[in-house]
Amino acid sequence: MSPVINTSQLTKAYNAFKAVDDLNISVDKGEIFGLLGPNGAGKTTTVSMLCTILKPTSGSATVDGHDIVKESSKVRKSIGIVFQDPSVDDRLTGRENLLMHANLYSVPVSMQRDRIAKVLKLVELEDRADDLLRTYSGGMRRRLEIGRGLIHQPKVLFLDEPTVGLDPQTRDHIWRYIKDLKEANEITVVLTTHYMDEADRLSDRIAIMDHGKIDVLDTPQRLKETLEGDVVDIKSNDNKVLQELLATWLGFVNQRIEKDSLKVTVPNGKTVMPRIVELANQNNLYIESIVLREPNLEDVFLHYTGGSIRDDTTKELHGLSAIHRRAIR
């Protein structure tokens, strides 16, 4: 089976800075492909090139078999996009927004009513369809945008951070639509996100992206398995000292301090836990808690990028400002 998306040394540079650096990925038909990375990783830039909004500086890519530069109008017909930032006309009603989209994408007039009704049902906006968008909440607008991206039945749907700034309930809803969508249709989804749980729950495969490059690409399951072993989460009165002790006396190399806890990745957590406690005691350190667990995607992310996605405060700000922007519209 030939891939639906294929990039070859795809690069976007702003002066000397490479926002996307030599990207080589291929996305299979029918999969949900997660592009996971912190703010500024180059996710939106990648999506913008694949959607023909930005021209690559070098390299090439095909979407649904069409070259993104030479056959951009064919690419546009094959794709649907939900942009990172809002992109609806808030002076029109939900239905009018959908109708306009159907017309811009040449959906035959005889099918428009049917498709719009279906989409409205999918995103649960039937009873608000004839209200002006400006009366919608942020979550409702987002749902409408997702529905809009489906009106012309695209082969590939791009979702750029679809749940940033939304409340947990709405996120959950949106996740369900995306899952359902994949099951019901032969659609390929490219999802960008900086939320671990989102990538983990939705993606068939995840590419971890940072500084314009893909660090690793695999299924969520296998990514977690590659971090052979267990993670021990320790809270003590001095994590820094404990970290040094563990390195010196027990030879632990894979350690990180994150917020108020020390995370240690080891092959056999059960057997090392008593020794950690013992070592702490001998050195007059007090251990508040010690927990053994399996690696999660966050550990994988930290392992490959060497930085915490949570440490990036700008991202939360970004989420907040997105809510704010939605709220004032």
Partner: protein, 254 residues
């Protein structure tokens, strides 16, 4: 066919948005009222135009001015769309940039034209002597004038990121075009300085106002140029502006 549908869709959107903005439609009465009633009353004694009453002379000029101001103002829709992100939805659609420009331009032209018609009816209501049927002849002419002016607004807006800048640049263009167009006073004749006569020849609206007077005032008005010359010049101006507009929209990214 796809392209035509794209143009129609974008046209319809602009018109809907315009009509829903009731405040703007109502406020649009105020300016022409001031010009045609207050300004005309004060100036009619100062400016003598042989064979025509000053208010009569002013009326086609104020229609031209309404078209100019509304047309230029409509460029704001591009800035709104960029600001609110809707432009991305349009730009990524499988519709050519030429069609996107045409759809927006025709939609905004329709809005400006509606404003012009409002002033036309208004002039009739306050008793300016002219044959109301000339509206039928004036309509296509008004559209022709509007197309080029709306294009200027859209082109400027496509280059500009913020509302404030757009407002400033707009004023910078509106007033010279208005004053040099001959809308308020004749810009030809011995009493007019040579530089102004020359500058007026560079003003696209001057040809529009002259043509509007020819159509609305009939034989009472002695035109600067024959009607067909005015029409040809405006048409060429429109085509050039559409060309530049398509180019300007092609380089737009968000």
């Amino acid at each position: 066919m796809t392209e035509l549908r794209g143009i129609y869709t974008l046209w319809l959107r602009e018109v809907k948005r315009f009509i829903r903005d009731r405040v703007r439609v109502i406020i649009s009465f105020v300016q022409p009222l001031l010009w045609l009633v207050v300004f005309a009353a004060g100036f009619s004694a100062r400016i003598a135009i042989p064979g025509i009453d000053y208010q009569q002379f002013l009326f086609p000029g104020i229609i031209g001015q309404t078209l100019l101001f509304t047309a230029m103002f409509m460029g704001i829709s591009v800035i709104w769309d960029k600001e609110f992100g809707f432009m991305k939805e349009i730009l990524v659609a499988p519709v050519s940039r030429f069609s996107i420009f045409m759809g927006k331009m025709l939609g905004d032209s329709t809005a400006a034209l509606l404003q012009g018609v409002i002033v036309f009816v208004f002039g009739f209501l306050i008793g300016i002597p002219f044959n109301p049927l000339t509206l039928l002849a004036a309509l296509p002419l008004m559209l022709l004038i509007t197309v080029g002016l709306v294009s200027i607004g859209l082109i400027i807006a496509s280059f500009i990121g913020s509302l404030e800048n757009f407002g400033a640049i707009q004023t910078f263009i509106n007033l010279p075009l208005f004053f040099l167009s001959g809308a308020l006073f004749p810009t030809t004749g011995d009493s007019i300085p040579g530089w102004m006569q020359f500058a007026s020849k560079l003003d696209p609206l001057a040809y529009g106002v002259d043509a509007l007077r020819t159509v609305i005032l009939g034989p009472a008005w002695t035109p600067n140029n024959p009607l067909y010359v005015n029409l040809a010049i405006i048409a060429i101006f429109d085509l050039v502006m559409i060309g530049i507009g398509t180019w300007a929209f092609s380089r737009m990214k968000k």
